[in-house]
Structures are given as structure tokens and as C-alpha cells.
């Protein structure tokens, strides 16, 4: 498409931009308009920000019409629309994947005309963020429909590009727009517009150049085919760092001892001989976790618990290894419940200090301090102490009250200071007394009764046993959240004891588990149980 090749019968070039408040969508629109007008085009942009500027979605709509020699300002102007017509949008630019999905469901993206340029990063919606479990939508599904519904697709993580060049996403998207060749302007015109804009020119152009390369590469690789051949690997959910590579997995499966330290070699060897391949990775992670949490002896206890399930899996399993895997997962998580000792232990490690530094982007010339927001309740303190003392504290109102007085408004602890660090460090060194603590023994009882249920059920109803294993996931968090989780768990277990014999018991327990994670106060769960 060249300028001046238009006839009055052609409609203008149309572009819709979907961005969120504060992403500089307006800046991008202004650049584009300025560029077009400098090149003799009639250009128009409109937006409907309203209060959407407050983090909501804003749609900018732009139209461009070349100077065809007969147009004249004021007397003979092309009529430019202020709203997008579904099926007539040549270019759609989306600053985020769900916004691309929104453009598609509004009919802005069509397979016969539209070049869709979208960043594949996710800015999670409130619904996704407030879920008690994993509420994330399926990014792959959006990406698939993006491929199916566009003529050309340019999808990449332009948010990252922007961040890497310490710029904003609008600059990166402008580069992608240039690289897509969807507008009849040369790269130099785009850059000139940014320069005339005069704000953050250097970083903007850096981001522009990077994404220009990405986009042109994608366009070339894709050619002019109807269905986009661009492949973007982002996983059904954002890639989980916990999901390790195939090579690593096979390494663990074939030689577990190679991935553990000398203290765990024997246990790892035992894992190799007694745990089926399908569950080895999980169990190895489990012994590491429990050893790190308490001691090698504790890891042995973990393994013995898991091996009992391994036997059952061997007898009654359906080959999936689901029961063993899930039980191994939640036994480890439950055995390493978060108490003050654990928290102090994790917060005082060098690896943690390094992570925090990196996250705060501290450079050589800068110093950093870290202040922890801690709020120990008298229960939590009693929990970590030897059972008799713990019980005494909880019994003695005077003590509990005085503790609450001290901790009422929580404490802020500077872990970077020597005093603050020593306090946490000393707490972490209380590990040896943990096994004699109130909470420790309570949790072990709970774990065993849960495992007991699983074992008895497995032989008669494998699926039900699996569901019961996964129910452990409803117990999480601290303080009230943990208390509510435990309450919901007991609700489900009581119901289980009533319905265990039913054929649909597994389905029922699954529904209850999902309901328990639907809201904090257990409203949905109570409704299902008609409590």
C-alpha cells in the first residue's frame, strides 16, 4: 500500500489500539497521527478514556487517509469515522494478551483484513488475582483464537522489551507497528515522530528498535499466509519455574543420587529402588524439602510415609501414578508447614538477600535495607515452644494477653541490621526443639489421619483417594486464613466419612474441594454441604 494510491471509493486505513490506563496508549496514538500528518495524510484519533484512565481498558481508534490530490482542508475533507466497524479494522494493537482477546470478541480482528499486534504478557484481572487457588485464564486459548482470527499475527512479550530498555510498552508496540509494514510509512518516519515527541526519546527508540526487529522477523517467517504461522511459546499458564526441563527430569529419574547432597544419598538410592519413575521427581523434591525443613531423620520419616502409598499405588494404581504424586506433594508441603522457625530460616539465607537485591535493582553505588512485616500471635509463639510450655502459655491468660500487648500492632524488623538479623537467626536456630513443640505433634497427627483415610480408600476407590489427597491444598496461609482452611478441610472430611461408600463420592469430594477454594468464608462450601 503506497500513499496517494487511493481512490475516493476506498475506505481509510483503520487502526484500533487497546491499552490500559498509564501504558502510554495516548502517546502512541499521537506519534502515529503526527507521523501521518507530516506525510500529507488526513489522520484522526479518538479515545474514550472516561475514568478508564484509572487502570481500566481504553480503546483508541485511528484513521488515516492519504492526500489524493483532490482533498482540501475545510472544503473537501475525507470523512473519517470516530468508531471502529467490526470487520473493517486493518490493524489492531493490544498492549496485553487479554486485551487482544477483548479486541477479538468485539469483532475488531478478522481473518481477511486484520494485522494483530499484541504483547503476550499478562496483566492479571482482579478475578484472576483474588482467587484462593489458581484463577488464571488459559493464555493458549486466547493465543489460538488470535491466530485463527487474524490475517497476520505479531505476538511477543513487548512488555519485557520495554522493561529491558527501561521504556514504556507504547514505544515497543510502536516499533512492532513499524516492523509489521501494516502502515505505508518507512521506519525513519516512525523514529522521526518519536523524536518530535521529545519525551524519553533515547529509551523509547531503544525499545522501538528491539521490537521492530522482532516484528519484521515474525512477518518474514510468516509470509503472507491467511493463517498465521507465528508460534509463541508461553505455556497454558505462564511457564512455571518449578516445571523443570525434560533433560533434568530424566536425570533425576535415572540417577536420583546425582541431584542430592551427601546427606541424602541413601534416601535417594532408596527412592530409585522403591519409587516408580512417574513419581520420582516429586519424591526427590520431597526429601530435599523435609531435610531442609528439619533434618535427614525427618526426610526419612517423609519417605517412609510416601513408600506406604507407593505400595498401594503399585497394587491399586491405574498406572497414572496420580495418587502417589499428589500424596507425595501434599505430605511434603504439610510436613513443612510454615511456623515462625521456618519463616525466620528462609528469611535469613544469603540466596534470599540476593533475590531481594536483584528485585529492587540495587546497583553497586546503592545500599539496601529490608524491613520485615511480622505479626506473631500468641498461638504461633506457643506453637513453636515445647508442648508443656506452649500449653501453659495458652492456658495462662496473663501471659497470652501480655504477649498480645507486645505484638498487637505487629513488628517491623530490619533484617539488614545486625540486631534484626540476629533475632531471626536465633529463631531459626530453634529447629532442634521443633519436634517437641505443640504444633509439630498436632500436625503429625493430622497428617497421619489424612494418610490413613487415603490408604483405606485407595483399595476400594482409587479416584476418591486421589481427591482426598488433593484436599490438603485447601489448608494454606497463616492466621485466620489457615484456620478457615483447616475448618473447610474438616467439613470435607466429615462429609467424606458419610459418603465414602457412594459411587459418586470422588466427584462429590472434588466439588467440595473446589468450593472450599471459591471464597474465604467457606460460603460456597457451606452451601454445598447445606450447613
Amino acid at each position: 500500500m503506497k500513499p496517494n494510491s487511493k481512490t475516493p471509493q476506498d475506505r481509510p486505513i483503520t487502526l484500533a489500539l487497546l491499552a490500559m490506563g498509564g501504558e502510554g496508549g495516548g502517546v502512541l496514538a499521537d506519534w502515529a497521527i503526527d507521523m501521518a500528518e507530516r506525510n500529507g495524510f488526513f489522520a484522526q484519533t479518538t479515545s474514550v478514556p472516561g475514568v478508564a484512565q484509572r487502570t481500566g481498558t481504553t480503546v483508541y481508534y485511528l484513521e488515516f487517509y492519504p492526500d489524493d490530490g483532490i482533498s482540501r482542508l475545510g472544503s473537501h475533507e475525507p470523512i473519517l469515522s470516530t468508531m471502529a466497524m467490526p470487520g473493517e479494522v486493518d490493524i489492531v494493537v493490544a498492549s496485553e494478551l487479554m486485551e487482544a482477546g477483548r479486541a477479538i470478541s468485539r469483532g475488531f480482528v478478522t481473518s481477511d483484513v486484520t494485522t494483530l499486534i499484541t504483547s503476550t504478557n499478562r496483566v492479571y484481572s482482579m478475578t484472576e488475582r483474588t482467587a484462593l487457588g489458581d484463577g488464571r485464564v488459559d493464555s493458549e486459548a486466547i493465543l489460538k483464537s488470535a491466530k485463527d482470527s487474524s490475517k497476520k499475527l505479531i505476538a511477543a512479550d513487548f512488555a519485557k522489551v520495554a522493561e529491558d530498555s527501561s521504556s514504556v510498552i507504547s514505544a515497543a508496540l510502536f516499533g512492532a507497528l513499524a516492523g509489521s509494514n501494516a502502515l505505508p510509512f518507512g521506519k525513519e518516519h516512525f523514529i522521526a515522530a518519536i523524536e518530535r515527541g521529545g519525551v524519553g526519546v533515547k529509551s523509547s527508540i531503544a525499545a522501538f528498535e528491539k521490537s521492530f526487529e522482532i516484528a519484521s522477523a515474525l512477518i518474514k517467517s510468516e509470509g503472507k499466509t491467511q493463517s498465521s504461522a507465528v508460534s509463541v511459546q508461553i505455556g497454558s499458564k505462564p511457564v512455571n519455574p518449578g516445571e523443570i526441563s525434560q533433560e533434568e527430569q530424566s536425570k533425576i529419574i535415572n540417577d536420583p543420587t546425582s541431584v542430592v547432597g551427601y546427606k541424602l544419598t541413601n534416601l535417594a538410592a532408596q527412592v530409585k529402588s522403591e519409587v516408580p519413575e512417574s513419581a520420582r521427581v516429586m519424591v526427590i523434591n520431597g526429601i530435599k524439602r523435609t531435610a531442609d525443613y528439619q533434618s535427614t531423620k525427618y526426610a526419612e520419616r517423609y519417605l517412609s510415609r510416601v513408600l506406604e502409598i507407593a505400595k498401594i499405588e503399585a497394587q491399586d494404581g491405574n498406572g497414572s501414578g496420580r495418587l502417589l504424586n499428589e500424596t507425595a506433594r501434599y505430605t511434603a508441603l504439610w510436613m513443612t508447614y510454615e511456623d515462625t522457625i521456618r519463616v525466620a530460616d528462609l528469611k535469613t539465607r544469603r540466596s534470599r538477600f540476593q533475590r531481594v537485591n536483584a528485585e529492587a535493582r540495587v546497583n553497586k553505588e546503592q545500599l539496601m535495607e529490608v524491613r520485615e512485616y511480622l505479626h506473631p500471635m500468641s498461638e504461633e509463639i506457643a506453637d513453636t515452644l515445647p508442648t508443656p510450655i506452649g500449653k501453659w502459655i495458652l492456658r495462662t491468660k496473663v501471659v497470652t494477653r501480655s504477649i498480645e500487648k507486645i505484638t498487637a500492632n505487629g513488628m517491623i524488623l530490619n533484617t539488614a541490621s545486625i540486631g534484626g538479623y540476629l533475632l531471626l537467626y536465633t529463631l531459626a536456630r530453634l529447629k532442634p526443639i521443633r519436634p517437641r513443640s505443640l504444633r509439630f505433634n498436632l500436625e503429625q497427627e493430622r497428617i497421619d489421619s489424612w494418610l490413613g483415610r487415603i490408604k483405606t480408600l485407595a483399595s476400594t476407590n482409587y479416584d476418591l483417594a486421589c481427591e482426598v489427597a488433593e484436599c490438603a491444598n485447601v489448608i494454606k496461609g497463616y492466621g485466620d486464613t489457615h484456620r478457615n482452611g483447616w475448618r473447610n478441610f474438616t467439613f470435607i472430611m466429615d462429609e467424606l466419612d458419610r459418603i465414602a461408600a457412594n459411587t459418586d463420592a470422588a466427584v462429590r469430594v472434588k466439588d467440595l474441594r473446589v468450593a472450599a477454594l471459591a471464597d474465604e468464608d467457606g460460603i460456597k462450601l457451606r452451601a454445598l454441604l447445606s450447613l
Binding site: K6, R11, G22, D30, S47, V48, P49, G50, A52, R54, T55, G56, I70, L73, H76, E77, S81, T82, M83, G87, E88, M98, T110, D112, V123, Y124, M126, R129, T130, G133, D134, V137, D138, S139, D148, S149, G242, G261, Y262, M282, K288, A291, R349, F353, V356, A360, R361, E365, L367, E369, R371, Y373, G410, I412, I418, A428, N473, G477, T481, E520
Partner: protein
């Protein structure tokens, strides 16, 4: 100081005869006012005309040169009343506000103005907040024009047409001694385009002339018998004068008259949408050369009977494209045709949507149906645009392959670092102990509380009417008290009297929270009486607590840092339980973060450059102690507090995480404390240009802590390979 500065753009307002003017619709309207020799401008901010107020605020220098008085009116009623200056004096005045909400507030003054009539041109520029992106009830300003007999202009959405209509509006107003309303649609306000400028005009008759030679004429005052005279005048003198002016100046446009025996009557504001629809159906070119006769109503009230008759007379059918409901124009035109005994079929809301925005899709569907009826031979079914193709031939994704279940709504919410969020965090936590209360909400950013994660607020009755909305729920025998919210904007707009004064007078014991973020924030951060910043053109720093005590409130407290969630929570509990009678007023004070960061960020950068010690704070979450229950998000909802993939190889659920956009407002930590959440939150303070003492401390710390950490790693070795 407003959120957006037009300091650079206002230079364009000096553009002279023949110069090409590039810019936003709002800026163009301002230029048009100056080109029309306006003497005074007033108004009240609110999308979509907030920027018009901001532009004028930044244009002080130019306005002074031209002797134009500009006022940030206290309310739309104030703005409308200020047009009284044009009743006796040949002064051109304009006021602007959001419609219909602003017009509702202004209608008392507008009715009085319209009754007595005007000498100088009086222009009311309304930003019609209708359709996508609107934040208010969906109504039409048209009704106000009709009831008070104010002429209503609805220009075609391009800058040339809009600028012309401002100047025509003043002339029409003077020719018919009636106020004129200029309706700017949402998109027209934010429309970027260009037009040929004219010179600015300095009014010959000045405000000073008026003040020094006062005039009065009891026939212009709304009091019997004059008021009865006014009603007669409206129909015998002013209406005919307006009709004559509109016809003589050909303000309404006829296109392609006689090109076909059917045609389209449309509101000027819909012209571009209709032309695009026609073009896609092959019935027009891009310049609007239509194959179908068009009658464009750039004046939508009054309807010019003669013109309607002329257009409809020899046609089989006419389609009226009128957006919104009720269908005032359709009823009007039906009456005109009936009276003239014309049998032409009038179509409108039978083919087009009865209610809702006239999007291109809606319009083209109606048009197609209409043309099929009267001129099918003009259509080429092979070449129909995708949106009206039979479903089979549609390309993806019109009605197909849309990932609907993956798309969540993304309503606006409190910004990162917003000082209003902690107020609702505190209330949510307080209600966990006190139980739920009836909460009456108000207009402003604080209204986002009705959305997740807070879900607080039952009704909103209008700007500043939060407290008034709770007035009737008043029964002293109840243990519970009502809670109502009000922003500082709404408070000064009318809330002080309509809400606080009313509660004092009627002995209401409820709690009123006045959210004082130092600006009229939701409308774009304009200054208010209580703004903390000093302004050379306005008088600020008038405390809200003093005002409420002035009207008789005894229990009044001001919180100067809303981020102290614990304190806020306690204050809520006190206010809801105290034995003291009368309204309890909490002024929750903290500066809007948008304005604050815009002011402070450059200063900080400057200090760092200068080598001064600067501490930057932000929050973080330890992923290994986070159990992924997200209860922190459910009492916070900050855009920077989100979720991330869990780095733990054994956990499935995503962890909570804090983005780099965090401004370190502190809510995460305060909430974690107040709600006794979890120990995962930490605040990092990054010190740039550290002092020697900082350096010494950190050396010592690194030495000791480093040693201990090596010890920890020794103990851990043997677990990891």
C-alpha cells in the same frame, strides 16, 4: 494543578487568520470561543469536557490579554447562573459541563435564564457522556433543551464543523434572545484533527463597561407577570427568530437532494458514522458524496418544519437516525408530517436500536434494511461488508473463535499507591468485627469501592449526595449506623449542605467519610477550596473539618495519613459505636498519588543526580513463605500487587508478587499487620548516594551477616547436590 497540563498546547490558541490548527477537539473549542469574542467562561470539570477547563486554566495569559474572565465554578448551577451576565449586557459568555449529570444540576438556573432570555450570546457547551466509556446514567440533554426552549446544536464530528458551530451558536443566541446548547459527543471531545484558524477577537463591550453602567429591566426577571410574558415571547418572537436564522444561514445541510425517492435524516453528530456505513454499502465515497439524499440536522432542536417537509415531501420513505431514547425527534417529525398531510413513511427506531449507542455496526444494519426496502437495486450483495454478511460467509472472528470465557471485565480501579484504597481496606477489616452496615456511596474515584475486591457501597445518588443518600435510613432504635462516603469534590459541590448540614439539622447519627485527596481527582486533579497546594489564580487551603464544624458537627476527626490502616480501622469502630449523638464525620486525608508522583518523581531524580542521599522504597513478597492463598490481594486490590508463577517445584498455585510499578505506599505491610496475614511482606529501602555512616554500617553488617550466612550454607550443604 490539573492532572494533564496544556501549558505547551495553549500556544496554539494564538494561531491567527489562515493558520492550520492541529489539535484535540477540546482545544479547538477553546480557540473557537476566543475567535468569537467571548467575554467570560465558566464551568465545572468532568469527562469528557474536563480538558476544556484545564486548557482555559493553563491559558490565563492569553485570556488576560483578551480581557476574558475564566472561572472554575463551584458547581454546574453556579456556571449556568453566571450566564446571567448576558441577560442585560451585550456580553458573549460560555459555560461548560458534563451532561446530563451537570445539566441536571444546572437546570434551575438554565430554566430561569431561558425564561427571561438573553441579549448577549449565551452558549452552554455540554460534553454528552453517552455510550461506550460513559460513567453516568444514559440520558439525553435533548430533554433539557426542549423543556426550557434552549436551541440544541449537534455538529458533525470534525474540527471545522465544531469550531464553526461555536461561532454560529453565539449568533443564533443573539438573533433569537435564547441560550444555545452545543452538544459535544464523547469522541468529539477527544478527537484529534485540524482546521483553519481565525484571529482572536477582543470583546468591544467589556465586563468593566457592564459593571460601571448597570442596567435592569424587570421584564427580564422571572416573576409574575413577566414570567407569563416570557412564555408567550418564547413561541411568538424567539422561536420564529431562531427558525429564520437557522434557515437563512443554512445551518442544517442537504446532500444529494433528489438523487433518490427515499432519504435519510440524521443528527449531525452521527454524520461520519452514517457516511462510513453508506460507503461500505457502496452508496457513498469517502468524501460523503452520497447516492442517497441526506438531511443533516446540525440543529436538533428546534426542528425546522419547512425543511422537513421539503425533504420528505416527494419521497416514498425516510429513515431517521436518532441516537438515544426517548425518540423526541421522531415524534416531532411525525407530528410535522401529519400536520402537513404528508404520507411519506417515516422509519427510525423500528429499523434501528430503540436504545443504546449508535455504533457503526448498529447503523449499517439499520441502513441496509432501509435500503433493501426502498432501493434494493442500489445494493451489491456480492460486495457486502463483513459485519452484515450472512453468518456463513463471515470471516473469523465476527461471532466466531472469540475466546469469550478467557476475557474478564477490566473495570477502572484505584491506582497503585492510591490513598483511598486503604480507607476501604480499613473499613473491610472493621466490618469483620462490627458486622456489615448500609453504605451509601458517592461519585468519584472512591466509588470504585463497589467493585471487587472491596464490594462496599449500595447506592450512589449523584455527585456530593453520598450522605444525603443515607438520610432516610434513620431509626435511633437501631444498633447499626449508616456509613456514607463523599469526595472532597462532591463535598464542596454541594455535600456540605445537602449531606452534612442536612444530617446535623435532622439529628442523624450516621458516619460520613469525606475522602480528601486534595484535588477533584476523578475529573483530572483540578484544585478545590481544600487543596493543599497554593495557586496564584485561586484561593485554596480551606480545611474541610473547619467547614463541617462550622455547620454544627461536633464529632469530626481528620486523618492525615490514610495508609495507617490500623488507626483508620479503630476510628471506624469508634465512630460506629460512640454514644455521642449527631453525625460523625471522618475527613480521610492523603494526596492523590497521580498528582503526588508527578510532582515528586522529577525532584527525586534531580536530587540523585546532584549526589544527595535519596531513599527509594518499594515492597516485596518472599515467594517461599507465600502459600498462594492471595488473601492479601482480597483486602487490597492494588494493580502492582499481583500473582506470579510459583517458583516452588512442589506448589501448584501462583504466589502473590509485587511489580516494579510499586511506589512503596506501604498499604501491603499495613494490611498484612492489621489483618494478621502472613510474614511474606517486606519493604526494601534503596539508598542512593549513601552517607559515610551508611557505608560504615553496611560494611559491618555485610561482614557479620555474611559470616552467619556462610554458616547456614554449610549446614544446608549435603541436601542440595
Amino acid at each position: 494543578m490539573a492532572e494533564r497540563s496544556f501549558a505547551t498546547e495553549v500556544g496554539k490558541l494564538r494561531a491567527s487568520e489562515g493558520e492550520e490548527f492541529f489539535g484535540e477537539g477540546i482545544l479547538a473549542v477553546t480557540k473557537a470561543l476566543l475567535q468569537s469574542g467571548v467575554s467570560y467562561v465558566g464551568g465545572y470539570q468532568g469527562a469528557p469536557i474536563s480538558h476544556l477547563m484545564d486548557v482555559l486554566g493553563d491559558a490565563k495569559e492569553i485570556l488576560d490579554e483578551l480581557g476574558v474572565h475564566f472561572e472554575n465554578s463551584a458547581s454546574e448551577a453556579t456556571a449556568a447562573a453566571s450566564l446571567a451576565a448576558s441577560v442585560h449586557y451585550p456580553l458573549r459568555g460560555a459555560v461548560t459541563f458534563k451532561s446530563t449529570v451537570g445539566t441536571n444540576v444546572a437546570s434551575d438556573a438554565l430554566a430561569n435564564l431561558a425564561s427571561g432570555g438573553v441579549t448577549g450570546g449565551a452558549l452552554i457547551i455540554v460534553g454528552e457522556d453517552y455510550g461506550e466509556g460513559s460513567s453516568i446514567m444514559q440520558e439525553r440533554s435533548h430533554a433539557f433543551a426542549m423543556k426550557s426552549q434552549i436551541w440544541l446544536l449537534d455538529p458533525r464530528p470534525n474540527l471545522t464543523a465544531i469550531v464553526d458551530s461555536v461561532e454560529t451558536g453565539f449568533k443564533l443566541s443573539e438573533a433569537s434572545n435564547s441560550p444555545v446548547m452545543l452538544q459535544l459527543r464523547l469522541r468529539s471531545c477527544h478527537l484529534h484533527g485540524r482546521f483553519i484558524a481565525k484571529n482572536n477577537i477582543k470583546p468591544k463591550f467589556t465586563l468593566r463597561d457592564a459593571m460601571e453602567n448597570p442596567v435592569r429591566d424587570t421584564n427580564r426577571i422571572v416573576l409574575p407577570p413577566a414570567s407569563f410574558l416570557h412564555e408567550q415571547e418564547k413561541v411568538t418572537k424567539r422561536w420564529p427568530a431562531a427558525v429564520k436564522f437557522i434557515q437563512d444561514n443554512k445551518i442544517n445541510e442537504f446532500f444529494a437532494e433528489g438523487a433518490a425517492d427515499f432519504g435519510i435524516i440524521l443528527q449531525g453528530g452521527l454524520f461520519n458514522t452514517v457516511i462510513r456505513a453508506l460507503q461500505l454499502l457502496g452508496l457513498s465515497d469517502v468524501y460523503g458524496n452520497s447516492k442517497i439524499p441526506l438531511y443533516v440536522l446540525n440543529v436538533t432542536y428546534p426542528i425546522i418544519d419547512e425543511e422537513v417537509v421539503r425533504f420528505a415531501k416527494d419521497k416514498k420513505g425516510v429513515l431517521l437516525v436518532e441516537e438515544g431514547q426517548p425518540d423526541y425527534i421522531e415524534q416531532n417529525i411525525n407530528a410535522v408530517l401529519r400536520r402537513a398531510g404528508i404520507t411519506t413513511a417515516l422509519h427510525g427506531k423500528d429499523l434501528l436500536p430503540v436504545a443504546g449507542e449508535y455504533t457503526p455496526a448498529a447503523v449499517i444494519k439499520g441502513l441496509l434494511e432501509f435500503v433493501r426496502k426502498f432501493g434494493p437495486e442500489l445494493l451489491n450483495d456480492e460486495k457486502l461488508p463483513a459485519v452484515v454478511k450472512p453468518s456463513g460467509d463471515k470471516p473469523n472472528s465476527i461471532n466466531s473463535v472469540a475466546p469469550t470465557e478467557q476475557i474478564h471485565g477490566r473495570p477502572p480501579s484505584f491506582c497503585t499507591g492510591c490513598p483511598e484504597r486503604p480507607i476501604f481496606t480499613a473499613l473491610k477489616l472493621a466490618e469483620r468485627e462490627t458486622g456489615k452496615h448500609h453504605v451509601s456511596a458517592d461519585i468519584g474515584c472512591h466509588l470504585f469501592s463497589i467493585l471487587p475486591p472491596f464490594n462496599i457501597g449500595a447506592t450512589t445518588m449523584g455527585y456530593g449526595l453520598g450522605a444525603a443518600g443515607a438520610a432516610a435510613l434513620h431509626d435511633t432504635s437501631s444498633e447499626k449506623r449508616t456509613i456514607s462516603f463523599m469526595g472532597d469534590g462532591g463535598f464542596w459541590h454541594n455535600g456540605l449542605t445537602s449531606g452534612i448540614g442536612n444530617a446535623v439539622f435532622n439529628k442523624n447519627d450516621g458516619l460520613v467519610v469525606v475522602v480528601d485527596n486534595a484535588y477533584s481527582a476523578a475529573t483530572g486533579g483540578q484544585d478545590l477550596l481544600s487543596s493543599a497546594s497554593s495557586s496564584e489564580i485561586r484561593s485554596t487551603k480551606h480545611p474541610i473539618e473547619r467547614a463541617v464544624r462550622g455547620v454544627g458537627v461536633e464529632w469530626a476527626k481528620t486523618v492525615t495519613n490514610t495508609f495507617k490502616v490500623g488507626e483508620m480501622k479503630k476510628m471506624f469502630k469508634d465512630a460506629l459505636s460512640t454514644k455521642e449523638l449527631g453525625p460523625k464525620v471522618i475527613v480521610a486525608q492523603s494526596e492523590c498519588t497521580l498528582n503526588k508522583t508527578r510532582r515528586e518523581r522529577p525532584l527525586m531524580a534531580k536530587k540523585v543526580k546532584e549526589g544527595k542521599r535519596v531513599v527509594r522504597e518499594r515492597f516485596g513478597i518472599d515467594p517461599d513463605t507465600c502459600t498462594g492463598d492471595h488473601s492479601c490481594i482480597r483486602i487490597n486490590g492494588c494493580p502492582s500487587l499481583t500473582i506470579a508463577a510459583n517458583p516452588d517445584p512442589m506448589r501448584k498455585d501462583p504466589v502473590a508478587a509485587i511489580l516494579n510499578t510499586c511506589v512503596g505506599c506501604g498499604l501491603c505491610g499495613e494490611a498484612a499487620h492489621a489483618a494478621v496475614l502472613c510474614p511474606s511482606f517486606y519493604k526494601t529501602s534503596v539508598i542512593s548516594n549513601p552517607s559515610p555512616w551508611d557505608q560504615f554500617k553496611s560494611k559491618l553488617r555485610n561482614f557479620i551477616i555474611g559470616a552467619l550466612q556462610t554458616g547456614i550454607e554449610k549446614r544446608l550443604s549435603g541436601i542440595e547436590a
